[in-house]
Symmetry: C2
Subunit: 241 residues, 2 copies
Amino acid sequence: MAAKDETSAGSVWLRPQRSRGGRPTLTTQQIVPAAIEILDTDGVEGLSMRTLAAKLGAGTASLYWHVANKDELLELALDDVQGEIAIPAVGEVGWRAAVGALAAGIRDIALRHPWMIGLAGVKPPIGPKAMRLNDVAAGMLAAAGFSGAAVSRISALLSAYAMGAAAAENSCRQGAAQPGQAAGQMRASIEAHWRSVAEQYPNLAHWRSENPSATFDQDTFLFGLDRILDGIAVWRDRAPG
Amino acid sequence: MAAKDETSAGSVWLRPQRSRGGRPTLTTQQIVPAAIEILDTDGVEGLSMRTLAAKLGAGTASLYWHVANKDELLELALDDVQGEIAIPAVGEVGWRAAVGALAAGIRDIALRHPWMIGLAGVKPPIGPKAMRLNDVAAGMLAAAGFSGAAVSRISALLSAYAMGAAAAENSCRQGAAQPGQAAGQMRASIEAHWRSVAEQYPNLAHWRSENPSATFDQDTFLFGLDRILDGIAVWRDRAPG
DNA sequence: CATTATCTCGAACGTCGTTCCATAGCTGGT
DNA sequence: ACCAGCTATGGAACGACGTTCGAGATAATG
């Protein structure tokens, strides 16, 4: 751990590069994907510096030459997965489909890497891949005819909804499938508990009686997305720009 | 730690109550608010079972009689703060204002207790306060004239957006004010870093040139909320219900 | 009063993130 | 060819953490 003194206590991204001399066997480009692999399998709690180093065949302390600490490693991993999102060009599909694909892409990534859901609301989104995503989204919205502050606000609206929807969907999944027991067992005890308290929640009970298996799923996401796109469309038609 | 065997490895909420006999000095009703106080001050990492017990004047191990583990304590705290959200009746203000107040209330709570942002996407939302909130929201939407699946979908849309917006706003704040350095110092180094990479992000650069201080703030939230409410309104007018 | 269940908590265990520092390898200057 | 100086490694240790154990204290029950 050196090379940190010039911009002390900043984010990873604000730090200058190092190079020249030495023995370059371990690199950040190896560490981050390995960390993501562990995160996808075991979650944030399953990632320890020791297991990560073991997976790379390196000593634990060696990691600290390449990343300042675990928090910074998580920041790097969080930024890295945001590079997986692909956004179609507006010309190919029309603005509504392109904008919808942006939101759907964000949701897909979040559900594929659930550990990032708890991280995205905490770590600042200033990594290169996150900025690239924002830049592409801004270009797409500009090409769709939006201008000025509308570009950033609509982009913010879509990504906020996509992340919130992924969070809701993921938390519902956590309740449905607890580890260490049969799949149906938890669901059964939830069902029993629900019946015992249903009378305390009359409105929920009424709705749930006509729709028993109620979770936040893809249909829920797509319904909300359509409402948002409708709202953007009427705003776009009302105030030109 | 007992009384867990009957419904082994379930959520807190599925566990029966205990009582009768013994020395009831420490209660869950004391523990959870104390934990929330620490969480508000120091975040999730600042909450340790030892400091919490010390704050309560109790031994560390005593906590484990009332909560199974730290995860369950966080679940209890997460549910508890959701009881702070107040929702106005539809008759008083009209459905659009009432629905908007629901989303704004969720955002307020999340920004007042930022630690819950990283938790809400991970812990299942089946606590009593969370269900009460859902129930009240469902009743509000039903009173507003929505029916059937629309009630749950619109409620899900609003809370997903509110949480996502709070997450985005909070993560922007994390980037702006890093602890342990002067407020302007981080902002200055971000600014310098931005200038050095601006040409890589032409669309962002163009937009940022007309709007230098760009973060997710209340105006961004309200703009998106208005678009969502517009979208719900046109859907409501189109398909009766 | 004896029994039984409830509740407290000092002490200990294993794991974690992190640091220290001795050491190894590469590069450039002479 | 050689050494100086940087880059990089990693064994060992530290302190803090979540959690468990089990002995003890307290109050209701029969």
